[in-house]
């Protein structure tokens, strides 16, 4: 027998204020979060309505507000989000122990976006993002070792240690890009290639609320629309561009409405099933020849902009804690699955232990694997070096002849 249960969650004051702020930008009153959870009698599934998960720009109808997933999917998404969370926690620790150098931008808090979107992607879809890329790198197929060892600059890193945090690559995954906004026209170019070859694939080009004001983003919008490129432009709006809130940086902080000729969807980026559903909708839109689409994922990052930013000079600790308590993508999803009796707390504990082992093993490699031999600094400058090509080192007595 199915039991319909309506649960009204009352938010903590700060959490509600944050939600208010984000929704005010979308011009609507603060709703009560209503979730109805159905207990399935057979073929365990999580289903519920998320009526406030989307807002539309230039769209008459959008993704389904009734979302669902089966047990297998639920556990898989949970595990993947947990892997990203723990992987970033490991990166945080290793950075503090000086095993990771330079820049390190952590994705913690935004997991529902990368896991939810990937769940809706076809295996031949492409993706490109900026420097907050570790979660995406994992989701696009690089094992945790490939990510952590790249961060510590080892040979077993996915770019053999040459790229570091901001330059990780995989098939159909074009990084990891250090220059703010550059990835957006690049992504439109990848979409151009899909269309050129007659493939029914999309390229997802991600950028943050800070990058959303870059001129080249609008140049990419223009050409993507003119040429009907199958490109989904996704703004991961975590509220802050480094230390500047989106309200202080953007005259129009409704990033999904920024283009007057491309339809847009605002999505509750903390609800993984809403993210997946919206991505399915956008993908269907783009691959049916309707041209590009913009999505804004309302999400949040717990850490500062990067490891050199404590993240508390421009926002309060209370705000961070409240999002953790009331809107965390992983714990809220887990709670839903438990309440719907899809899985038990013990099963989740087992998954957590599994994840712990994966991260520990990766950390082991990241800390103990060797770096590339120093002579490798001369490799891969060209894919086709001319014959007898010599590269100069730091003085007139140091030259290396390279054939690759």
């Amino acid at each position: 027998m199915n039991i319909n249960t309506k649960i009204v969650l009352r938010l903590q004051p700060y959490g509600r204020h944050l939600l208010q702020k984000q929704l005010k930008q979308a011009n609507s009153p603060v709703p009560l979060l209503v979730t109805s959870i159905r207990e399935a009698s057979s073929g365990a599934a999580l289903e519920y309505d998320a009526p406030n998960a989307y807002k539309f720009h230039m769209l008459e109808k959008g993704p389904n507000t009734h979302v669902s997933c089966n047990r297998e999917e639920g556990l898989d998404y949970y595990k993947k989000m947990q892997i990203v969370r723990r992987m970033e926690a490991s990166a945080n620790n290793m950075y503090k122990s000086k095993l990771i150098r330079g820049f390190c931008h952590l994705y913690s808090g935004q997991e529902a976006v990368c896991v939810g979107m990937k769940a809706a992607m076809d295996k031949n879809d492409s993706l490109i993002t900026a420097y907050r890329a570790h979660g995406w790198t994992f989701m696009m197929g690089v094992p945790v070792t490939g990510v952590l060892a790249e961060l510590t600059g080892r040979k077993s890193g996915c770019a053999e240690g040459r790229g570091g945090s901001m330059h990780m690559y995989a098939p159909n995954f074009y990084g990891g890009n250090g220059i703010v906004g550059a990835q957006v026209p690049l992504g439109a170019g990848v979409a151009f290639a899909h269309k050129y070859r007659g493939e029914s694939n999309v390229c997802i080009a991600l950028y943050g609320d800070g990058a959303a004001n870059q001129g080249q983003v609008f140049e990419a919008y223009n050409m993507a629309k003119l040429w009907s490129l199958p490109c989904i432009f996704v703004c991961e709006n975590n509220g802050y561009g480094m230390g500047t809130s989106s309200a202080r940086a953007s005259a129009n902080p409704n990033f999904y409405k920024r283009c007057e000729y491309i339809p847009g969807i605002w999505v509750d980026g903390m609800d993984i099933l809403a993210v997946r559903e919206a991505t399915r909708f956008a993908r269907e839109w783009c691959t049916s020849g309707k041209g590009p689409m913009i999505m804004e994922m309302a999400t949040y990052r717990y850490f500062g902009h990067s490891m050199s930013d404590p993240g508390t000079s421009y926002r309060t600790r209370e705000e961070i804690q409240d999002v953790r308590k009331s809107r965390d993508p992983i714990t809220s999803f887990r709670e839903k699955l438990v309440q719907a009796k899809i899985a038990t707390e013990d099963e989740f504990k087992a998954i957590d232990n599994d994840v712990k082992k994966i991260i520990e093993d990766a950390e082991n490699h990241a800390q103990n694997d060797p770096e590339l031999h120093v002579d490798e600094l001369y490799s891969h400058v060209y894919s086709q070096p001319p014959p007898k090509f010599k590269i100069r080192g730091c003085d007139n007595f140091t030259f290396k002849e390279v054939s690759k």
């Binding site: 770019a159 690559y169 550059a182 439109a188 170019g189 290639a193 891969h380």
Partner: protein, 359 residues
């Protein structure tokens, strides 16, 4: 004759016209093509040969190219292969680079390289460095091409020479052709090359006729990137130059011949990777060196060449310090006399050669 009229129309300066007229008489004997034709043909052949090659830029399709470099290509190949863009260099250079990363082989035209400054982040950070940063996982087989350096009377913002800026960056191949044969062979090589190439043309000689062999007209004619050519053999002094600089070197060499001075003119063809061996071999033979280019003197290609010669065993073969002929160290003026005297002329080369040879 029609070809003479075309030549007259195409050139603004008497020096260029004199040069072209002297070629015209030879034109009666052997086949000649203009640089424009060489580039158009090269693009046409490569687009026909490989499905992945396409041309993208402002006015390249329906306008036949701002300088008519893609004349007839849109009619022949259509919208998919010849793509007109809005005036958004950063955007379309990024799109072209992304398409290259995803396996296509774009030719991205900058109407002039002055506008490439708006897109230079994509040329350097997105294109040049990606193969290295990805440890060989992501190739970027793109060609950025267009006219570089001064035209006639277009003033400072439209006249900059970007040879040294691009040639400084590892990961790029930078080609600066001179003749029609250079343009054919090197553009085809650039398009077939898997690395990002910056192909610096010169608008002032687009209309110049050059003799061309049948071999150079064959569809698979490619020249090696990174190898210079001895444009004129000589034994008294080496003139190392590229692109339009070769023009004044050859004219200077002709005049100097009458004074009994025999110049060896080296056409670098490629700026990165630079063919230092051809220069060293020549210097070891002639013992004297003058570099010639149209760009600014500070951090010039000539400075790089002279540094390399001095750092190598070729230094011991020099009988005099090597010197440079470059553009004047000023933004380019519009007024005719000022402009002409801001760019190197044959007289600058003559003076420099005589000084180095102590004559």
């Amino acid at each position: 004759m029609k070809s003479v009229k075309d030549l007259v129309k195409a050139h603004g300066s008497i020096i260029l016209l004199r040069r072209s007229l002297s070629l015209t008489t030879r034109a009666l004997a052997e086949k000649t093509i203009t640089i424009r034709e060489a580039i158009t043909q090269a693009m046409d052949e490569e687009i026909t040969r490989d499905d992945r090659v396409f041309l993208m830029g402002e006015e390249v399709a329906q306008y036949d190219g701002a300088y008519k470099m893609s004349k007839g290509l849109w009619k022949k190949h259509g919208d998919k292969r010849i793509v007109d863009t809005p005036i958004t260099e950063m955007g379309f250079a990024g799109i072209a680079t992304g398409a290259a990363m995803a396996g296509l082989r774009p030719i991205c035209e900058f109407m002039t390289f002055n506008f490439s400054m708006q897109a230079i982040d994509h040329v350097i950070n997105s294109a040049a460095k990606t193969y290295y940063m990805s440890s060989g996982k992501v190739k970027v087989p793109i060609v950025f091409r267009g006219p570089n350096g001064a035209a006639a009377g277009v003033a400072a913002q439209h006249s900059q020479d970007y040879s040294t800026w691009y040639s400084q960056c590892p990961g790029l191949k930078v080609i600066a052709p001179y003749s029609a044969e250079d343009c054919r062979g090197l553009l085809k090589a650039a398009i077939r090359d898997d690395d990002p190439v910056v192909f610096l043309e010169n608008e002032l000689i687009y209309g110049q006729q050059f003799a061309i062999s049948d071999e150079a007209l064959s569809p698979d004619f490619v020249l090696p990137i990174g190898k210079g050519k001895i444009e004129r053999e000589g034994k008294h002094i080496t003139l190392a130059s590229y692109s339009i600089g070769i023009k004044i070197c050859l004219e200077a060499a002709k005049e100097l011949e009458q004074n009994g001075i025999d110049c060896e003119v080296i056409n670098l063809r490629t700026l990165r990777p630079l063919d230092e061996d051809i220069i060293k071999t020549s210097v070891k033979k002639t013992h004297h060196l003058v570099t010639v280019e149209f760009g600014w003197p500070q951090c010039s290609i000539g400075a790089e060449i002279i540094a390399r010669i001095c750092e190598s065993d070729a230094f011991d073969y020099l009988d005099a310090p090597p010197i440079r002929v470059t553009g004047a160290d000023v933004p380019l003026a519009y007024a005719k006399t000022l402009e002409q005297n801001s760019m190197p002329q044959v007289s600058n080369v003559l003076k420099s050669v005589k000084k180095v040879l102590n004559k």
